[in-house]
Symmetry: C2
């Protein structure tokens, strides 16, 4: 009976492996899909913020308008990268985990097949035991039963061997796939975060350059209308508050439109980078770590 017990033990190891894979890969799939969805929600909120920032920019004076538009463009660019992150996570992380279900089902079918063969072997052994106890002198019957046990044992041995090979291949594939899926996850995240740092650095500089003084002069002029009939403030020329306000309005306006078209070009250049083939990711990821 030792060989049967051993096979039971063997199949328990294999069953546990497949069951654990089913359980945890299922969890990984659900959680990474949820993670991807939450990332998409974050992108949606930021997109709404971009829209509000642009709307608000249109109610502001030149400097703040330019600053807010540039800032909103950078924020939108980060969301483009987040969108690429979402698509890549779906494609390279969530989908491969989803497809794992099929592979697991096949291996579980092989385990069931083994169990059927093993139960047959046990029945033959039990039959032989009973015969040996009840009719120990019936040599012919015992010999027949022994042949049945032998046949069942050979069957079980062959099925065990097949199962072993299947589970071995399954385990090998599983370990490699998990390594690949997690590496892809890390690479996708790393590329996104690196791009975000890059874009936010530019956004930070945009905000640092902002000087409220010129806008305040514009605002005061608007508040006092074309008439400017009272108050000592109206006596001062617009360029009177220091070097910050020195650039005339018309000059600043043309500078703004130049900056806008320049940024647009930079954004479209970058968005082509966002659409890089996903296969490119590995290379990008490897470039990042040292």
């Amino acid at each position: 009976m030792n060989i049967v017990l051993f096979r039971d033990c063997q199949v328990r190891v294999m069953e546990d492996t497949v069951t654990n894979t089913e359980k945890y890969f299922g969890q990984f799939c659900l959680l990474l899909a949820a993670y991807t969805r939450k990332t998409a929600r974050l992108r949606d909120k930021a997109d709404k913020l971009v829209k509000q920032l642009i709307d608000f920019a249109n109610t502001e004076n030149l400097e703040m308008r330019t600053t807010l538009r540039n800032f909103a463009e950078d924020l939108a660019k980060v969301q483009d990268y987040r969108q690429a992150e979402v698509e890549r996570l779906e494609f390279k992380v969530v989908n491969p985990l989803k497809l794992y279900g099929t592979q697991i089902k096949q291996t579980q079918a092989e385990i069931k097949k083994f169990k059927r063969v093993r139960n047959h072997e046990i029945k033959q052994l039990e039959k032989l035991e009973k015969l040996r106890q009840k009719s120990p002198s019936d040599r012919q019957m015992i010999s027949q039963a022994e042949t049945c046990v032998q046949r069942a044992s050979v069957d079980a041995g062959r099925t065990t061997h097949q199962l072993e090979e299947t589970v071995d291949a399954f385990q090998k594939q599983k370990l490699k796939d998990l390594q690949k899926i997690l590496s892809d996850f890390v690479t996708i995240e790393m590329v996104f975060h690196a791009k975000a740092v890059e874009v936010y650095s530019s956004a930070f500089q945009t905000l640092e350059r902002y000087d409220p003084e010129r806008d305040l002069e514009d605002f005061r002029a608007k508040m006092h209308g074309v008439h400017r009939p009272h108050g000592p403030r109206d006596a001062r020329p617009l360029t009177d508050t220091g070097p910050a306000a020195a650039a005339p309005w018309s000059l600043a306006q043309s500078a703004q439109s130049t900056m806008r078209s320049h940024r647009k070009a930079a954004a479209s250049e970058d968005s082509s980078a966002v659409e890089d083939p996903v296969e490119d990711l590995r290379g990008q990821g490897q470039g990042l770590h040292h």
Copy 2:
């Protein structure tokens, strides 16, 4: 009547400014609070993934167990930084925007006060007009009405001047605050993304180092139990599949415990960095962009 029309125009500029600020700062506050909440949800999902990864690691063989634990630790570290991001966004971005409500209410109260004074002025002017039409000869009444108009006009002028100063200060503060709040947002995001790149680089290396061969040998040995009674594979020594499986089990085990304690130390070092005072952010952010 020109001066009154002009004041109407003036107050419309001021009213629009305050109304727009109320509308858009309210939107910014809601959207950035939602952005912060979604970030916290993302952290929650990743935390659950960390837990499942560790649970799964405990069902795996040595190499994958170590790899998954180290990977889970890195993923958890990113969530610690995300938690710091959430707290900083609440403190430096959402709260200041929330507090803006009070400032807006005060300025709106001043505008209302101006409107009352302005309406009084208009009434006095209308009264004077009527008198001039109905009783153009009643010099005394007209003179009285003229004094009333004059007084109302002086009042309106003074209130306009006060309002102008209030709105001027409001606008100045608003521009500076918006610049500060957006800069803080960018800095917080930039610090988080930079930390994430750093931690994921380490996670990537952990995954790259993983070699499934040793685990497969362990798995095969487990599958064949202590008996190893059949199959050609059992005849081979454990170290027979090439140089990858050369390290004996016991040696690998001690290497694992060393790695674990080392990583723990590194993680606690890093978590102290997460608790850096928020004031530190600006410096960190400035260090990042070039």
